[in-house]
């Protein structure tokens, strides 16, 4: 009985752990979701025009966890940028995880 309880607890723990963290799938992102991103982040030397002019940041090789943090920050408004806010708002947690996985790989 005790072994069963321990086993049940372990199964529950692992189930909830995998449910809360979306596993990123880079090829899923590549297939469907990068179309909104490449127009700015995929062009070498591309610069924003408003409100300030600077180069759109390179993403290739950036830490996936940081990309997730950044996209969520745009979503919540913690970080503000007119284009990024709109784009992040349209992304699900899975999308964000997939995109983060995609951009964290350099090639």
């Amino acid at each position: 009985m005790r072994t069963f309880k321990l086993l049940a607890l372990a199964v529950l723990a692992s189930a909830s752990a995998s449910a809360s963290a979306a596993e990123g799938n880079a090829s899923a992102a590549a297939a469907n979701k990068i179309s909104m991103c490449v127009g700015c982040h995929g062009i070498p030397g591309y610069r924003t025009a408003f409100p300030e002019v600077y180069h759109v940041p390179k993403l290739g090789g950036q830490h996936a966890a940081y990309i997730v943090k950044a996209l969520n920050a745009y979503k919540t408004g913690e970080r503000s940028h007119p284009s990024m806010k709109g784009i992040a708002a349209s992304l699900t947690d899975q999308d964000i995880a997939d995109l983060a996985a995609y951009y964290s790989e350099k090639k």
Partner: protein, 108 residues
């Protein structure tokens, strides 16, 4: 008129103290980056995934980010504390340093 050498030295010293503008200097930025290395890595390739890689990032993007931390347009308790004691020249030099390192790329 023959300017005394001491006066000339004093004038040059005064001028170099008051001027702020030299072009962004990566070497000077590297010296300044000691405090940054703990989170962002010695060359800007951070180990911890929470702290972004800076190496190879566009120089003006880095400068914009640092400036925004300094003027409050971008909020982050750690970063705002870090830039509080940095001058605009420091920010420019740091940006030049990290931009010159190898790391991030443009990915399609």
């Amino acid at each position: 008129m023959k300017t005394p050498i001491r006066l000339m030295i004093a004038i040059v010293a005064a001028a170099s103290v008051t001027t702020t503008a030299h072009a962004a200097d990566a070497a000077r930025g590297k010296e300044k980056s000691a405090a940054c290395a703990a989170c962002h890595g010695a060359d800007g390739n951070s180990q911890a995934p929470d702290f972004p890689r800076l190496a190879g990032q566009y120089q003006d993007y880095l400068l914009t980010a640092l400036t925004h931390y300094k003027n409050g347009k971008r909020k982050n308790a750690i970063m705002q504390g870090q830039v509080a004691n940095l001058t605009k020249q420091d920010l420019a030099d740091l940006s030049a340093f990290y931009a010159s390192q190898k790391g991030l790329d443009v990915k399609r």
